[in-house]
Symmetry: C2
């Protein structure tokens, strides 16, 4: 089945966008491919392009004192750019790198700006999209307050098998907020309790 049709269906079903609007919306996008290891975005980049992943996955991270800290993972239907700085119209504060080959929908900010005037339901759609994003981010924020690293790991195993299966453990550890060595020991502990 067509990859774009698939996304159109997602817009319509999940984000309640009327099909005519979805067509108009999608008409502004280009298909762009990345190979595993390519950068979708680098720190300091202009960050004025909306990038929606149709297939593949990516990892977002920042570099502080030469060390990478993994802050995000992106999968199908996710928006893979520096969301916060995009909203603020700032340049990117992070890197995004393809974990595997990727096919994206991409559109410049100017074009989305134009669309927002053409499509009646644009803000409604942005809102719903946002909603998805917000719920995800807020859950994770609370997880950091409420749960131990071990519990956060088990959460990922339970609810985000896509992350677990596609991501090297040291990146997982960083995302959870612990050292790779410690994650290794937690895993052993989980596998052989007591």
């Amino acid at each position: 089945m067509d990859i774009i049709e698939n996304y159109k269906n997602y817009l319509n079903k999940k984000l309640c966008m009327p099909l005519e609007d979805a067509d108009l919306f999608l008409s502004g996008f280009d298909l762009v491919n990345y190979k595993k290891g390519d950068y979708l975005l680098k720190q300091g980049d202009k960050n004025n392009i909306v990038k929606i992943i149709l297939s593949g996955s990516a990892r977002g991270f920042v570099i502080i004192d030469g060390n990478e800290f993994t802050t995000n993972f992106y999968f199908e239907n996710d928006h893979a750019y520096d969301y916060v700085n995009y909203l603020n119209k700032h340049s990117s504060g992070m890197y995004i790198k393809a974990l595997e080959n990727i096919t994206n929908l991409e559109m410049s900010f100017e074009a989305t700006d134009f669309l927002s005037q053409e499509i009646i339901g644009y803000y409604k759609m942005s809102f719903y999209l946002f909603k998805e994003n917000f719920i995800k981010v807020e859950k994770e924020r609370k997880n950091h307050i409420l749960k131990s690293p071990k519990e956060r790991y088990l959460d990922l195993v339970k609810n985000h098998q896509n992350i677990i299966s596609k991501v090297p453990q040291y990146q997982l550890a960083s995302f959870i907020g612990i050292s790779p060595e410690h994650l290794s020991r937690l895993r052993r502990e989980i596998a052989h309790p007591k």
Copy 2:
């Protein structure tokens, strides 16, 4: 100056809402007062009322195994309800309690639903409002990945003096994700380095 005028100004200036829309928007709200210690929301409550703080402050927390975990603080112009579960139309998963006397704008979900059909710019406004919320939450989430408890505390001191000055330390500690004893020691360390 009038407290509602003040908020109208905020809607107009910060959230780019046209004044006519702001008037219509505000017409749906009631003013509600709480005293220090009152609950704005309890776990299991219906959670179908939008509550916007005009003056005062509140704390959000969950109770797990009899222990309170502070997850949110709310101040002027903040939306003080269980945002995530509100969006999902679920009942509240958290408590919100007044830290001091509060004056709120409040409106039922049914009314906001109605407004969303009446006001052309409603979703645009929701989007902008959301944006503020999202940026805040995402920054905090990343802070948990990138920064140590000590740094998180110093961040609060630097950027959220309102939280520091109005909130007991043990609640702060919970929000940061550490024990009250440890926060006490970090503070001593900061005051008397070395």
